[in-house]
């Protein structure tokens, strides 16, 4: 006997198929299909390049998808540039550790203004093209459900993730039990250096608009008039 008679019904197989599109790192959910780098380039140039640049280098507004990874990274599975504080920006290929993620995301969300308009083979192809731009697969590569697990073994940042932290609720996937930053609540005569290490430069004073117009007109304070110099 049901606890909630009359509520909900079984999903039909066609319904599950229509919506169950996720692809996991173990490739559960990945549909059969394939696409070549060459075909991917066509898709890319027609459907992606306007936002992400012809070589995934991005145009003036979007973050670059490709770049910053090396042959050595592909070997080690760690992106060396991520250890450098001075490396500017981090591309998608520098960060992504699982190739399934790329496939899944392009399939569900790209092109940004026409998501879910690509065929399965087009997703394979354009993924192959992105991987090729990052030199993860060769120019003549045909990506498919049969060989994608081999590609995974060449992802530059495949060993770059850790779950050794205490910020996943419940039992960790190999997580830590204790928070990493352990402060104490000193109350009196606490050690402080009190050195002012950063504040907004004067030229940015009005960069967020006039703050006088971003605060209520009554209350314990007003917004400061940032169209004028401090104390001016």
């Amino acid at each position: 006997q049901e606890r909630f008679p009359g509520i909900g019904r079984a999903a039909t197989p066609a319904e599950v198929k229509a919506w169950d599109i996720d692809v996991r790192p173990d490739f559960q959910g990945l549909p059969k299909g394939s696409g070549s780098v060459a075909k991917g380039q066509d898709v890319w140039e027609a459907r992606c390049a306007s936002c992400h640049g012809v070589f995934g280098e991005s145009n003036e507004v979007f973050n670059p998808l490709v770049g910053g990874t090396t042959e050595e990274d592909i070997r080690t599975g760690r992106v060396a540039n991520l250890t450098r504080n001075d490396y500017p920006g981090r591309t998608t290929l520098m960060k992504v550790s699982t190739v399934s993620t790329l496939w899944d995301y392009i399939n569900r969300a790209m092109p940004w203004n026409q998501p879910k308009s690509l065929s399965v083979d087009e997703v394979y192809a354009v993924t192959a093209y992105m991987l090729n731009l990052g030199r993860i697969v060769p120019d003549d590569f045909v990506l498919s459900d049969a060989n994608i697990d081999q590609v995974q073994k060449r992802m530059p940042n495949r060993n770059g993730m850790t779950t050794a932290h205490a910020m996943w609720p419940g039992r960790q996937p190999a997580g830590a039990a204790k928070p990493d930053v352990l402060a104490q609540a000193c109350m009196k005569d606490c050690p402080v250096e009190g050195k002012l290490t950063s504040q907004l430069p004067a030229f940015a004073r009005n960069a967020h608009g006039n703050l006088a117009e971003q605060n209520r007109l009554v209350g314990a304070q007003r917004g400061v008039d940032t169209t004028r110099a401090e104390g001016g």
Binding site: G8, P179, A183, G231
Partner: protein
């Protein structure tokens, strides 16, 4: 203090002429006339004098307006409830106003019978209403390096708090016969263009805390916040509170979705990214006085702000008005609720001298909000996400308050 004088002009009763304040002596129009009718608005709006209280974008922060964020004006809010019209926004592919009668919700994966529900059906199930904060994992992200933004709207405004109403997700998982032994993970998926996906730990769902929510502050969710259905995952960063929720899937491993592999991963000094960082650790911020404001005068102030923890209740908040050398315990406004904003306040008499104001929260697990130096000592400065360091506001001699970093 010339700027101060300007800012306070006409604001103080203290400056009334000998005979009295004309605002008292000459009766205002509203004391001498007939006002407006009821139901001028079937759905009312704030006073025209409140027009400065708006959510806002941070110029240059994002590259598009549909994969972007707007910040809640924390400096102007009271108590713990965020008015829904001022709730912060974070969209990855824009927001929609979805017809609820056509919206469907599906459960599949490691379940006996995959099922489909209408909104009508979900809203017939036993529901709960709970107050929770939601904070974007990237909130305060601009503060990892140097000071980049002036006010607490921009430093901490990817934070809101509402009374959410919905069905505990566990109820529905039980209805479909979910295999909770093997199925220790759940994928939540949105119906918008991004079809946002995030992995949710089954422990949280089993606790009954995770909700299939349709209500927010007494009415339905706002379109910008996921109308008509959103996952509520108390204590966990906002990206997991999937909006326009169309489907959940029970599985035996996490999904490593784009927003679990490319974004919402925290870069550590050793070049590794922490993956599946989800909990918003204990944090607080003073909202009055706060950056970009100018105090009207010396004298008494009620320092006030917000504290919260993704691990449970706030136990105490300490406030320093001398840059962290000495701290006093603030008053906490009850009810102090789990994974909910807590309003704190403390008396303060400003003597007109420059000083630095800070707050530091401790939660019921004993976790203490760290200083920037302590946080950076472990995590470096490139995490982007999960910056819960103590915020410092410098009050200058002119009464102007500034966002500063100290060390």
């Amino acid at each position: 203090a010339a700027g101060l004088a300007t800012a306070t002009a006409g604001a103080r009763a203290a400056t009334a002429p000998a005979d009295g304040d004309p605002n008292i002596l000459e009766l205002p129009e509203h004391s001498k006339g007939l006002g407006q009718a009821v139901v001028t608005d079937g759905y009312g709006k704030p006073s025209k004098y409140e027009r400065n209280v708006q959510r806002r974008q941070s110029p240059g922060l994002t590259q598009t307006a549909q994969a972007s964020v707007s910040f809640a004006p924390l400096q102007s809010l009271f108590g713990i409830v965020t008015p829904s019209g001022l709730h912060f926004e974070r969209h990855h592919q824009g927001w929609w106003d979805i017809d609820p009668s056509k919206h469907r919700f599906m459960v599949n994966g490691l379940v006996k019978t995959p099922k489909v529900f209408t909104m009508d059906e979900l809203m017939r199930l036993p529901a709960v209403s709970r107050f929770h904060f939601i904070e974007c994992g990237a909130n305060t992200g601009m503060e990892w390096g140097n000071v980049a933004v002036p006010t607490c709207q921009y430093t901490h405004g990817m934070l809101s708090c509402s009374e959410f109403t919905g069905v505990p997700l566990i109820t529905v998982l039980q209805m479909v016969g979910a295999d909770l032994k093997k199925g220790r993970f759940l994928l939540a998926e949105g119906a918008d263009g991004s079809s946002m996906t995030r992995t949710i730990p089954m422990e949280l769902i089993e606790s009954g805390e995770v909700l299939l929510a349709y209500g927010q502050n007494g009415e339905m969710l706002r379109p910008e916040n996921g109308y008509p259905l959103r996952l509520v995952v108390p204590g966990v960063q906002g990206v997991s509170w999937v909006k326009y929720l169309r489907r959940v899937e029970v599985g035996d491993q996490p999904w490593a979705t784009k927003d679990e592999t490319v974004h919402y991963v925290d870069l550590m000094p050793d070049g590794k990214h922490r993956q599946y960082t989800s909990i918003q650790e204990c944090k607080s911020v003073v909202t009055t006085p706060s950056g970009g404001q100018v105090l009207l005068d010396k004298g008494f102030y009620n320092i006030t702000g917000l504290a919260w923890s993704g691990r449970g209740k706030v136990r105490k908040v300490d406030v320093s008005v001398d840059g962290g050398r000495n701290w006093r315990q603030a008053r906490l406004q009850d009810p102090v609720m789990s994974k909910c904003l807590t309003r704190f306040s403390l008396d303060w008499v400003w003597d007109g001298k420059p000083t630095i104001i800070q707050s530091r929260a401790t939660d019921e697990t004993g976790y203490v909000q760290p200083t920037q130096r302590q946080l950076r000592g472990v995590r470096g400065t490139r995490s982007i996400y999960h910056n819960n360091a103590i915020q410092s506001w410098l009050v200058t001699e002119s009464g102007e308050v500034k966002n500063v970093h100290v060390s």
